[in-house]
Symmetry: D2
Subunit: 172 residues, 4 copies
């Protein structure tokens, strides 16, 4: 569940120079420290610099009163994929604002795939488009996220989180 | 968890004429049939025609890699509150699109309150504004949702869901 | 400026069955009756079913206090292109909501091109993505519009507008 | 049309310490250097720190093919009001992204009023809500803008623009 358990000795990390290797390292460390994404059963299918693909199966506890997937979980899948895409260059980045258009309902058991791609990156802000489809390729939602780069790197954040867990004062 | 268990004999329901009583009935039936909202520990504080207030405490399984509440759960709280507000007149209504601006992080243990109010309702479409604050009154997020009225009523949907559960073929 | 002057005898129109011909007819009639789009010097480059491309040159009267193109005119270019795309099937359609992200400024004399494509069309609602670029291919803005189909057709609307002008009781 | 003509001797300006006086000075200088806002006949009714109110009458050249005010001009009115609100503290600020929901059409001759208020301001980013109503108080549109503070001040920008005009190399 955390970096220590997954066997990554962060103290001795030498950052890879290859952008693809860096994207994969950032994504692995982020995922290891992200209880929300893990808890929803979201899996990371692929990450490249600026892009990510994740999947989630609609569970009974994700249904709303209309017997369809609560829009919040579709949003969460898209938002996680957005986060993995915009943090893929090892620069800590957060979402400042997002829009989502719901096109068709997600149903119990549906396997939803979110594809994030970078539409713009200039200075500290970026814009990412995420398309959510179901197992038949049907479009479920369109998400657009605006990102804002903060201080620090993904690897540093993971090292800090890891240290807190080892030292017993983590907040998880 | 469902209407049968909560003791509402839907078959004999006479719909209240008072808008406030109708709002409360719609909300209670929706909540009883909404595993997603229940599973996140979201509680309904108040509902009036066109408005709703709900609360959620940030749990460890809602944290992301930055050690703050995953934006998806803040969105989900706001989206549920939006749903209870726009269904408060017993007309089945769904979200067509939403925007969210994240203003400050939610932290572990924070009690987040979402207040939804109706900004516009014309024909089948409405616009709702939802403000999310924490226990100190600090603004955490601004959400705006566009609603679209579909066929049917909240009470009818709940009756159908209830029948499915009693008949043993429900999907929950 | 209006259909009568442009020589289209609307009374005798037989609607083309070919979707492309219908898109071109709808666009021509819309453009003839759209003083706003004409007045900004926006030209229609291309229209196909669900898509449109338009161009606008940034004029001195479009500049704001930062000496860049006022975002409102970039929005207007994108919004017009959106309108021509979503009305291209001769079904009268209006915008219900739009989002725009500004990526880079438009400068005096820049030739801005907006490309609209249909991301979704289901029932009476659609979602369209519009990309605005300058003469160097640089991305200036991303626009996403939600459309809502109303009663009537583009051709009928144009006929009505045309009749009003001929009869002398038009409101232009 | 520019600061020189309006008689403000920018070189000798002492910035007022009173926030309200500073807001009014910033607004006056911005307006003097904003051909777009002037050209649409938009008038500034009131400005206070973080807030602004502007008005625009729907002209024939603002109508679209539906014989209603082109959404782009409603957006532009709201966007200008947003700009005057978020620049009211004399810190140069631009829009990064906006959303608009169209609630009712604007008609020829309608007097539209836009009221902007500050929903959030933290660090370099802010969120502003703008409500557009007509002369009967009917809600025409809801606009939400995200602002981003850049380098410089409104007064400095106006001085620079003023100098360019005097020196004969201005671009207006």
């Amino acid at each position: 569940m955390n970096s220590a358990q997954s066997g990554v000795a962060l103290e001795s990390l030498r950052l890879p120079e290859d952008p693809q290797a860096l994207a994969e390292l950032s994504a692995r460390l982020m995922y290891d420290n992200d209880p929300a994404t893990q808890g929803l059963g979201i899996s990371l299918i692929e990450v490249t610099p600026g892009c990510a693909r994740m999947q989630m199966t609609v569970r009974p506890d994700m249904l709303n009163g209309h017997r369809t997937c609560h829009g919040g979980f579709i949003f969460t899948l898209a938002d996680s994929t957005f986060a993995f895409a915009c943090n893929s260059r090892n620069q800590a980045t957060v979402a400042s604002g997002c829009t989502i258009d719901f096109l068709a309902p997600g149903l119990l058991g549906d396997v939803l795939t979110a594809d994030a791609s970078e539409a713009s990156l200039a200075g500290r802000t970026g814009v990412y488009d995420i398309l959510v489809t179901n197992q038949d390729g049907k479009r479920i939602a369109l998400f657009r996220g605006r990102s804002y780069r903060i201080k620090g790197t993904v690897v540093e954040e993971a090292m800090r989180a890891n240290f807190e867990v080892v030292a017993g004062d983590g907040n998880v």
